[in-house]
């Protein structure tokens, strides 16, 4: 097949993205040479900062669309969503690659990134997470490979992958479900540091459910963008279905969070005007309450423009949740210890570079690979 002639490689947005990638790379090299202290504002109170909260936790949550759509099409046999399987898998693959790039830069010894694969310590959630990243990124590469093989005309390889595709999807759904929850489980060890607005023994489940909401919105969001900018139009029913899914998942999530607010924390904590309380309200309003309010009206749920706005709100809300768990939930503890943190411009620039890289690779795949032909 040919590259898609309808997609122009150099548009103003793409040029900005490439510039951000270059800037991010320069800072990344600086970080490799000078160390974390010179390039980030991380400290002993906030050992995990913006890169971990946004690029790793947020990026992995964004990638949830891949396993959800693959599960819907291959396991539930909901054929309606077939046109968006490939974009969803590609998003997941790129999301995980971005998370790996961010992890590579974030850990103290980047080139020791494979250590968990050799030095097993199965009591550690972090080890479980590391193994999931390794296996799931490999699985996603396999799920993604047919697009590459079709482009290259490697028919035999394409068929070979086709035979194991269902197995790969089942394996991937298992890995992804566990990986999303494990990222929440990482924080189970910090009950005496985190605000009970977030810390709960059910945190792994909260992470999984919010990741599903995020995944649905993300897939819907990027499919709309692809329709607008990459000439890939799909049936509107797909968006209505995804919006309905978001509504169901978000409502369930709201129930979980309300239960937690009353059973683990106390409602007063959310309204006491503290940093934690305000961040909690912000996250819940943007990402959960307002989207549920809008989506529960049928007229709104079947309006593409409204769905588009809701998608953005859910994505921002869940990213806020990840940043809150990672950073703001420990605000009072760290204030008591005398630590504070706000990301440096270098951290921002690297994060922007990593996100731009993901979007740029997505666009290039749309142009050069059979992403939308299925």
């Amino acid at each position: 097949m040919e590259s898609n002639p309808n997609i122009k490689t150099w548009t103003p947005t793409t040029i900005v993205m490439v510039l951000l990638i270059i800037a991010g790379t320069v800072i990344a090299v600086y970080r490799m040479v000078m160390g974390l202290g010179a390039s980030t504002n991380l400290n002993d109170g906030y050992p995990w900062g913006f890169w971990l909260g946004l690029d790793v936790l947020g990026g992995v949550a964004m990638a949830a669309g891949g396993f959800i759509i693959a599960c819907a099409v291959y396991l539930f046999n909901w054929k309606k969503y077939r046109p968006i399987v490939r974009p969803a898998i590609l998003t997941a693959f790129l999301g995980y690659l971005m998370a790996v790039v961010a992890l590579f830069l974030d850990i103290g010894h980047p080139f020791r990134l494979p250590h968990p694969a050799f030095m097993w310590q199965y009591h550690s959630v972090m080890w479980v997470v590391a193994m999931h990243v390794i296996f799931y990124t490999t699985t996603l590469a396999l799920e993604f490979s047919p697009m590459l093989f079709e482009r290259l005309g490697w028919e035999k390889a394409r068929q070979a992958v086709g035979k194991v595709m269902v197995g790969a999807v089942i394996f991937g759904v298992m890995l992804s479900t566990l990986h999303q929850s494990s990222l929440g489980a990482v924080f189970l060890i910090s009950p005496s540091k985190m605000s009970p607005l977030w810390w709960d023994t059910k945190l792994p489940f909260h992470f999984l459910v919010s990741a599903v909401a995020m995944g649905l919105s993300m897939v819907s969001f990027e499919t709309m963008l692809s329709g607008k900018f990459l000439q890939h139009k799909v049936d509107k029913e797909i968006f209505y279905g995804l919006a309905r899914g978001s509504l169901i998942v978000l409502s369930f999530y709201l129930l979980l969070k309300v239960y937690q607010l009353f059973a683990v924390a106390s409602p007063g904590m959310a309204f006491d005007g503290s940093v934690e309380g305000n961040m909690y309200l912000l996250e819940m309003l943007i990402g959960v309450v307002v989207p549920i309010g809008i989506l529960s009206v049928k007229k709104m749920r079947t309006n593409i423009n409204t769905i588009f706005s809701v998608n953005i709100m859910v994505i921002v809300g869940v990213i806020l949740n990840r940043l809150n768990v990672c950073l703001f939930s420990m605000e009072s503890y760290n204030a008591w210890r005398g630590f504070s943190y706000s990301p440096s411009w270098k951290e921002f620039l690297v994060s922007l570079g990593v996100i731009s890289l993901g979007v740029f690779l997505y666009k290039m795949s749309a142009k050069h690979l059979p992403l939308f032909s299925h």
């Binding site: 160390g35 002993d44 850990i107 010894h109 566990l178 009950p191 005496s192």
Partner: protein
């Protein structure tokens, strides 16, 4: 605690996955009880005069080869922390990548409530010594994904292997006491924390902070002896004299001191499941910089309650996924047979 390798293997064997995991030696398996030869420190704030001899000697001893502050590149150099523009004396404000042990002072109620302080809540002044507590079940060891942090099976000392560590800093997030520090300024950084002078035992020495403590505020010994000693001190009558052991709980050196009033609590007996570093003080521990939110829970259990279910979840999800696929395919076939048109 019900966490051990056998349990884990049972889980693993059930799903036929991760079987080899149990075979790795030196695993950081939480054991639930004090190792028989566990060593530790008892710090009695009522005896501490704030001379900081422990801090000075800790830094010196740990800058020697094998010490927790030793670096090949700076071999022999002691990492002093000078106040800005005044390179006269070492003055760290707290634990850091250059300071494993720190003495801090608490000053309470200096003005209005001076009278009430003195009568109600004991003395309004106390020193406190901070360093790694060497938990009986350390959160840092349980979370370390590469087993760089390990609890020594005999002494119970929590040691750190900088060659394994890849720098995820989960130990810093996990430690309920906020002890591990990171070398942020280095391009090749390590975690820094007290390792109870593990490198000095082979030379017949022991923890430098205790070896150099002139008043008996910090004493070294077997944790069981230290626990007994701490409990005994709580039974003493304020105003009496007592022959406090100096440097070592099992040594001959003693100092006769008038007993001060203690807060009726040995910090570390039960906190976070128990620690090998124990504290006694005349001022409530909340005021001495201990996080009041630290509970007596065994911290590794928080994450183990999740991780222990992972193998079973892997199996369940694989079976559920396969079953779902099989069922939906059957429905599909039936539908096609009924209508007669293939998709």
């Amino acid at each position: 605690m019900a966490i051990n390798r056998r349990d884990f293997l049972k889980f693993s064997a059930g799903t036929g996955l991760m079987l080899t995991a149990g075979a790795t030696p030196g695993q950081a398996a939480p054991k639930g009880q004090l190792p028989p030869d566990a060593v530790g420190i008892l710090y009695d704030a009522t005896l501490c005069i704030g001379c900081m001899s422990c801090m000075v000697n800790c830094k010196k001893a740990n800058s020697e080869p094998g010490g927790a502050l030793y670096h090949k590149e700076t071999a022999g150099l002691i990492p002093f922390e000078y106040p800005a523009d005044d390179k006269i004396y070492d003055a760290p404000d707290g634990l850091s990548d250059k300071t494993l042990c720190v003495i801090k002072a608490y000053r309470g109620g200096e003005q209005a409530d001076k009278a009430s302080q003195a009568s109600k809540s004991g003395p309004a002044f106390s020193f406190i010594k901070q360093h790694c507590l060497h938990c009986i079940e350390p959160a840092c060891v349980s979370v370390c994904p590469v087993a760089a942090l390990q609890k020594q099976p005999d002494t119970g000392i929590v040691t750190y292997n900088k060659n394994k560590c890849f720098g995820c800093r989960y130990c810093q997030v996990a430690c309920p006491f906020g002890i591990p520090m990171y070398e942020w300024e280095k391009a090749s950084p390590s975690v820094v924390k007290c390792q109870l002078c593990n490198h000095r035992y082979a030379q017949g020495k022991y923890s430098a902070c205790c070896e150099s403590c002139p008043t008996g505020a910090s004493i070294f010994g077997k944790v069981k002896d230290l626990q007994e000693e701490a409990k005994r001190r709580l039974t003493l009558k304020p105003g009496d004299t007592y022959a406090y052991p100096v440097k070592r709980v099992d040594g001959a050196e003693r100092t006769e001191q008038v007993v001060s009033e203690y807060v009726n609590h040995v910090y570390g007996l039960e906190e976070a499941g128990g620690t090998q570093y124990l504290f006694l003080a005349g001022v409530s521990f909340d005021k001495l910089g201990f996080n009041p939110k630290v509970t007596n829970q065994v911290y590794p259990e928080f994450t183990w309650s999740y991780v222990s279910h992972v193998p079973a979840l892997i199996g369940t999800l694989l079976v559920a996924g396969t079953a779902l696929r099989v069922v939906t395919q059957k429905i599909e076939k039936k539908k096609n047979a009924g209508t007669g048109d293939a998709p």
